[in-house]
């Protein structure tokens, strides 16, 4: 076995160790540790990706001396290292770019615990991405939930604490359904490792035995993860959660945590249920319908918002709708589109949150549109990052958002019964997106009544500029040269399907 095959394990253990050690460090040391850890994980993911590309197959990595079905396992093909690499880059950008706001929003005595939480989120995301065991997924989902609540409530305002309570309630409802689904699945198959589960589920579906429990398990697991990632009727926690947390947390929560659950769901669809069973069980129609509803209603709610953070948060609900619509569309192309949009959203949302916080900072700390007038002229870097993010969310060419929408449309053309509603939903949602993002852009670039301003220079915000440049640059890079990424995703999905 190549040495790089050990890297997923090292990444997870490294993140866990950093989390624990950060508990006793001063916060500056903890911050540096977190940044180094995220960068190291990104590099190691690149090595794992190179390994997977070289061998062209997915590798099972037993955690201990007992391979499946006896003991825990990790498994990686092309998708897993790709996703974990992007996630750790985004995490790095959030931590680097959101530092100033973090210092404003938190107490110095507890800031090391914040970085500890960020490390734990990194560890649990990695475990969710790499795991080959359903129950491990549950354990790390819980770590992710608690740590997410931790980075949310560190800003101890009344609204934030309230938002954390709501976030926890929804999340725990989701976890409850998820664990119940696992119990049903375990009692009819007797396995927890994904390869055996897939085989048993396939056989059970063929024979028709235990049909109702199997359907129930599929529904419970899917529903649980949908609630946790904020699919349409369960998105009420989003605006408060993202709107009142510190921008770094908002970026991590919207860009990474919900995406981790979605990636786990995709992995479960392929590796536990198998696409045939999942798409025959009827769950995909449910996902499709709620996804489409989320696209439209999320955008409508965003349009009515008067607060820039809450608007971006509602737009997240709409984007999650896109992803679920893709999952519901078709097992191959639809999922490739959904994965591409997952990466798009993971790169775009943190940039939007970080730059919006800078824009609001130069506008006297107000988050309302009225006060943001002309703020992009007071901070050019933030304005540029916000513009790239907005254009990507609208789906203009040369950004990743455009490619994602193109892929969704392409997937819809292959599925005749979904063609008309998908195109209609894409059109409506794009119009609405354009409306509220363009309105915001016009507002922040409007020079009326501005007078003479002295813009904030790059020198005084190096960290933010670097993070914003990396996020926006990746966004444009993959928007221009999208084909390699699409090929990678297609190969990865084929590998995942086995």
């Amino acid at each position: 076995m190549s040495f790089a095959a050990n890297f997923p394990l090292f990444c997870i253990v490294l993140a866990l160790l950093c989390a624990v050690v950060s508990g006793v460090l001063r916060w500056r040391a903890a911050a540096i540790l977190t940044e180094v850890m995220a960068a190291a994980v990104a590099v190691m993911s690149a090595f794992v990706l190179a390994l997977a590309l070289r061998t062209g197959q997915s590798t099972s990595y037993p955690m201990g001396h007992f391979p499946h079905p006896w003991g825990n396992e990790l498994r990686f093909g092309i998708l897993e290292p790709l996703v974990s690499g992007v996630f750790s880059l985004v995490l790095l950008c959030c931590v680097v770019g959101g530092r100033k706001a973090l210092n404003r929003d938190t107490e110095p005595e507890k800031r090391n615990l914040y970085f500890s939480m960020v490390d734990l989120i990194q560890a649990s995301l990695l475990a969710l991405v790499y795991t080959n065991d359903l129950f491990t997924g549950y354990v790390f989902i819980e770590i992710c939930t608690i740590a997410a609540c931790g980075i949310l409530m560190i800003r101890q305002l009344g609204r934030t604490t309230l938002a954390s309570v709501r976030y926890m309630i929804f999340s725990l409802l989701g976890s409850g359904l998820f664990i119940l689904g696992i119990v049903y699945l375990y009692s009819i198959t007797g396995h927890l490792l994904m390869p055996e589960l897939k085989q048993s589920v396939g056989e059970l579906w063929q024979s028709g035995q235990y049909r109702t429990p199997l359907r129930t398990a599929i529904a419970l697991i899917t529903l649980g993860l949908c609630i946790k990632s904020g699919l349409f009727p369960f998105h009420f926690w989003m605006p408060d959660t993202y709107g009142y947390s510190t921008p770094c947390s908002a970026g991590i929560l919207s860009g990474l945590v919900s995406k981790g659950y979605i990636f786990l769901l995709i992995k479960i669809i392929f590796d536990v249920f198998g696409t045939e069973v999942f798409y025959a069980s009827g769950m995909q129609t449910v996902l499709y319908v709620f996804g489409v509803a989320g696209m439209v209603f999320g955008s409508i709610s965003a349009m009515r918002e008067n607060d820039i953070f809450r608007m971006i948060a509602y737009s997240s609900a709409a984007q999650i709708g896109y992803i679920y619509m893709g999952i519901g569309l078709s097992p191959r192309l639809g999922i490739v589109a959904a994965l591409f949009h997952t990466l798009t959203h993971a790169l775009t949302k943190p940039a939007l949150f970080l730059s919006a916080s800078r824009l609001s900072e130069v506008s006297g700390g107000s988050k309302r549109f009225k006060d943001l007038q002309g703020s992009a002229h007071k901070n050019h870097a933030a304005g540029a990052a916000f513009a790239v993010g907005s254009l990507s969310m609208i789906g203009l060419p040369l950004t990743m958002g455009f490619i994602a929408k193109y892929l969704f449309a392409l997937a819809a053309f292959r599925e005749e019964r979904f063609l008309i509603p998908t195109l209609l939903a894409l059109a409506i949602s794009t119009v609405l997106n354009t409306f509220y993002f363009a309105r915001t852009l016009i507002r922040v670039y409007n020079t009326r009544d501005l007078g003479a301003v002295k813009p904030v220079g790059l020198g005084s915000q190096k960290r933010f500029a670097a993070a914003g440049a990396l996020l926006a640059g990746l966004n444009i890079f993959f928007g221009v040269i999208a084909q390699p990424l699409i090929d990678l995703l297609t190969r990865g999905v084929a590998l995942l399907a086995g």
Binding site: T145, C149, R159, L172, G176, I179
Partner: protein, 127 residues
């Protein structure tokens, strides 16, 4: 039907308990009662899980006395999973209680609706 229900009595009880917890979590405005509902829900899931591992008439899986025949012990795996689950449940409960204390200190009530309205009111004043 009734016979089938009797055959699955523990699982059925677990599911009913789960529903009780679910409704408690959704319907009560009092934060403490919500937390209790949450705990009932978790416990129900663990009861279900334990019941899967049970085999009538067999011993607990402590291998003593040289008897290594798998046919004389119950399934150890669900017990291990439940152990993991319990720790998760304890952690979550502690966190929720801590959040409740913070909210109570600030708003002097446990009613989530009232807290929400007060928080909204604060924001209105802030504008």
């Amino acid at each position: 039907m009734l016979l089938a229900l009797w055959d699955h009595r523990i699982q059925a009880a677990a599911v009913l308990l789960f529903a009780v917890g679910f409704v408690t979590l959704l319907l009560h405005r009092n934060l403490l009662k919500k937390i209790i509902g949450l705990n009932i829900m978790d416990t129900a899931a663990y009861l279900f899980l334990t019941s899967v591992g049970y085999i009538a008439g067999r011993k607990p899986p402590i291998i003593t006395g040289g008897d290594r025949d798998p046919a004389s012990y119950v399934n150890p795996l669900p017990a291990g999973l439940v152990l993991t689950g319990i720790v998760v449940s304890v952690s979550v409960t502690a966190l929720m209680l801590a959040l409740t204390i913070r909210l109570y200190r600030r708003y002097h009530t446990l009613d989530l609706d009232q807290i929400y309205q007060m928080a909204l009111g604060e924001q209105e004043e802030g504008k």
